[in-house]
Amino acid sequence: MNRVVAVVFALLSIGVLYATTTFRATLIIDAYLGAAFFPRAIAALMLGFAVVLWFMEPRVQSETERIKDCESESERRSLRTDIVTPIYTTILLIAYSLSLPYLGFSLATSLAFITLLALLGSRVWWHYLFSIVFSVVLFYVFYDLFRVRLPRGVLF
């Protein structure tokens, strides 16, 4: 697992290093460090630590194992457990955010909340009722009380 992490961070830092070479000069000239210095320094350090992580893996693994004791069991189990719900939730949330400007906050949130509850396997009827009340109340609290212009949608 650690080696995967090391590779991901190494790739990220290489990408950043490459991107900094495409930085163009702007109207304002920074005669000393320039816009690319800081990202480059960070990326270089990141690459270094990623390499260390790659090679340290066996030792690190044993260290964590010793410290974690009982905690590690539940963590390890959760590594394998159902990653499906978070994935579906992510898709749901993206669809929700895209529909917000059209459906308006109350409707979109009610629908998304109900879908989420179904996704999580809730069988309690008042949970569903609550989600609608929650969405509507939240909208009015923010829109009228805090004057936050939540999307109202095209319908209302």
Partner: protein, 317 residues
């Protein structure tokens, strides 16, 4: 997962339908609904204060609630782009600032003032040069003379990068300062008070408290006339420098807004700017009222565009 799929399909369908049907709007009587005023800077700043005071004043004339919406980011680019691309129905107004001229010239925004239907110029604040009270510079000429002798050595606390006030001076006088870029006047001013930089240029409203309290000493103002609040401080003109510069804020709606809507708004804002409560607020905050109608506003912007374009061309050689 069936349920999820069906709901998602449902959401998409409704979305598509509403998108198709939402275009037509009837403009017979305006305004009928709440109006949003986009302020492209954060709550608590100068632009925000003007926007809120103005929204408060104009509500009485438009007879609907006018809500300030802060859309910050990219030195105003985010909020102004959103304002320019909003539905042109008069329900989304934008507070435009000098950045609408400078950002596109620097290639940092895709919109220009031409993407807006201008309503009214509201406020203009001249640039004021200030130093620490025990600074050796007694006048703007002392500062310039020292800059000529030691080019690039005098530390200028810049409130934004690039800073067009200092560039105007540098280009005209052939001097150069060492620009230290700060994030706004709130950071630049303490650096001058603390003696870490030599001078700064900001608007009167941002420095009046420190000036009156003896923490800062103004040298000259880049305006045509002296400031009411600082009658002893000469203008650049009086000092023999033909330089006027400042920042400004106005109201605009997206290009394509019906002319009748524009007329309603122009009149309402004309009244709001003259409203005693607004005038009092602006005086208290040391913000200058500069009240121009749509046509004059357009000329004003094209003049300012020329000024900034010449600076940009100069440094872009």
């Amino acid at each position: 997962m069936k349920r999820l799929v069906s709901v998602l399909v449902g959401i998409l369908l409704v979305t598509a339908l509403l998108h198709a049907g939402g275009a037509a709007e009837d403009e017979v009587d305006y305004p009928r609904d709440d109006i949003s005023l986009i302020v492209p800077f954060a709550a608590g700043g100068g632009t925000d204060a003007v926007g809120r005071a103005l929204a408060n004043a104009v509500e009485n004339y438009l007879e609907v609630p006018v809500t300030v919406v802060n859309r910050t980011g990219g030195s105003g680019a985010v909020g102004m782009t959103e304002g320019a691309t909003a539905r042109p129905d008069g329900y989304t107004l934008t507070m435009i600032t000098r950045e609408i001229v400078s950002l596109p010239l620097m290639g940092l925004a895709d919109i220009t003032a031409d993407d807006f239907e201008l309503i009214r110029l509201v406020n203009m604040d001249p640039a004021l040069v200030a130093v620490q009270p025990d600074s050796p510079y007694e006048s703007i000429h002392d500062l310039l003379a020292d800059a000529r002798e030691n080019p690039g050595d005098i530390l200028f606390a810049s409130t934004a990068a690039p800073n067009f006030y200092i560039l105007t001076i540098e280009n005209d006088q052939g001097v150069s300062f060492n620009h230290i870029a700060y994030d706004g006047a709130a950071e630049a001013i303490p650096s001058v008070i603390g003696g870490h930089t030599d001078f700064t240029i900001a608007n009167p409203g941002e420095m009046i408290g420190q000036i009156e309290g003896g923490e800062l000493r103004p040298l000259a103002v880049m305006a045509e006339e002296r400031l009411d609040a600082l009658p002893d401080i000469p203008t650049f003109m009086e000092e023999g420098l033909d330089l006027v510069s400042g920042t400004w804020r106005g109201i605009a709606v997206p290009q394509g807004t019906p002319a009748e809507v524009g007329d309603v708004l122009e009149e309402a804002f004309a009244n709001a700017v003259a409203d005693p409560s607004f005038v009092e607020f602006m005086e208290n905050a040391q913000l200058g009222i500069h009240n121009l109608g749509a046509d004059e506003f357009r000329t004003f912007i094209s003049n300012d565009t020329e000024v900034i374009r010449s600076i940009v061309d100069e440094i872009d050689l």
